[in-house]
Subunit: 254 residues, 2 copies
């Protein structure tokens, strides 16, 4: 049994709490937040606190707060030499106070408040300074059914950056699709199977091999017609830039 304390009350903290709570291999000793209100709904499931001085002993303390608050909260912890991890994709391991046993437990996934997540689909990026703590973090990930990889800070920051392209920017392209279809009174639902299939396809073949469409074919006629159809300057700019990018990737090799 691994005991943890969670610090923070955002999406990651809440999804982690729910996963730990369901696991019979993890016990959440306490859940801290600087204001108690967001934790109230969970008061029957766990001890909720808003005072760091009340923190009891645990195998792992998980700081799941905004990047800028991580160092400060780690500095104010009323103990030393215990394993404390943060869950950020971009903050270095050295941004935790050095009196602690430091680690990173970064879930490479997108979390929304009202969307349930299966932790089997949440790969954890693990980093530690003291080798013996790696096992604890591995066990913690496995206790909630998650895959894990040892990833150093530079690689993690790279993954966080790649995730912006793959998640935030992709989602913005869905948004553009929504705007374009809405403008012609077309139900966005009709595009949803295509969204899913596009994501499924690269689970088994590379994005390079999966590419199709006018830009890859260098089909100037269709590209020109599409640009004429677009009624929004931002949509045009995105169309032109990503068409150029696809042409670069799939250009005729010399």
């Amino acid at each position: 049994m691994i005991s943890v304390c969670i610090l923070g009350a955002g999406n990651v903290a809440t999804h982690l709490f729910n996963a730990f709570n369901k696991s019979d291999k993890v016990v959440v000793n306490q859940w801290f937040n600087r204001t108690i209100k967001p934790l109230q709904p969970f008061k029957n499931d766990v001890e909720i606190i808003d005072d760091l001085a009340k923190l009891v002993k645990a195998d792992v303390y998980i700081i799941a707060v905004t990047d800028d608050a991580i160092f400060d909260i780690s500095k104010r912890l009323p103990f030393e030499d215990r394993l404390v991890v943060h869950t950020s994709g971009s903050v270095t391991i050295h941004d935790l106070d050095k009196k602690l046993h430091r680690g990173v437990f970064y879930p490479l996934q997108t979390f929304s408040k009202d969307v349930e997540i299966n932790f089997a689909n949440v790969p954890f990026c693990l980093e530690v300074l003291e080798k013996e703590n790696l096992e604890t973090l591995k066990n913690l990930a496995e206790a909630i059914g998650s895959p894990h990889s040892k990833i150093n800070t530079e690689q993690r920051q790279t993954l966080h950056l790649a995730a912006v392209f793959i998640n935030n920017f992709t989602n913005q392209l869905y948004r553009v699709g929504h705007e374009i279809s809405d403008a012609k009174n077309i139900n966005f639902d009709i595009l949803k199977p295509l969204i899913l299939e596009t994501a499924k396809k690269v689970q088994s073949i590379s994005p390079y091999l999966a590419q199709t469409g006018p830009a890859k074919r260098h089909d100037k006629k269709t590209i020109k017609r599409h640009l004429k159809l677009l009624e929004n300057k931002m949509h045009e700019d995105i169309y032109e830039l990503l068409t150029k990018a696809i042409k670069q990737t799939h250009g005729k090799k010399l």
Copy 2:
């Protein structure tokens, strides 16, 4: 039982043939292509021909060839007044020869040669000139388990354009993620669950609500650090433009 003849031997034609072939509500009378070779593997399953003059009677003739070849092949058909449809997202219904009963049977999905597709996830956009033919196309879609919608030419062209954003451009963002992770010796596999979850999320909530990340938060510090990390001019340009687009979508309303 609906009888069809397929014209063309590309991805759409082949996936359609396989779906029809499996259905007990459709019989493929013939499969035409201007060269017989690509059809050879199917010669035991269907009559394959390379001469339009040999075409026999069928309820629907499906022209699944490149956009530029559609009009020409429709003109050379050795009959009149039979239902002939094309499968293109961008060609108008009037680009079929007017001696025919014209229609469109456009599958809004991405097809790759070696990736199997479940036709329950292929919405067909249907268009006809003679109202009585709509029922035939509806039945044909239903015979292979596909949803369908009546969509006019302008709407279909809009959907084809939206599909470029949602499929081709999204796939290019996956490619960027692949390039970025490869450059730091990170296995692209670790990003695959995020790709899938991003697509799944917008099946139930809108892309607007699903958005997260530094651009939405107007987190200048992270954006600046990401831009510094990027080592490729095209990646930088995409990062900047899509960050701007997300800010525009999620900007503070006045």
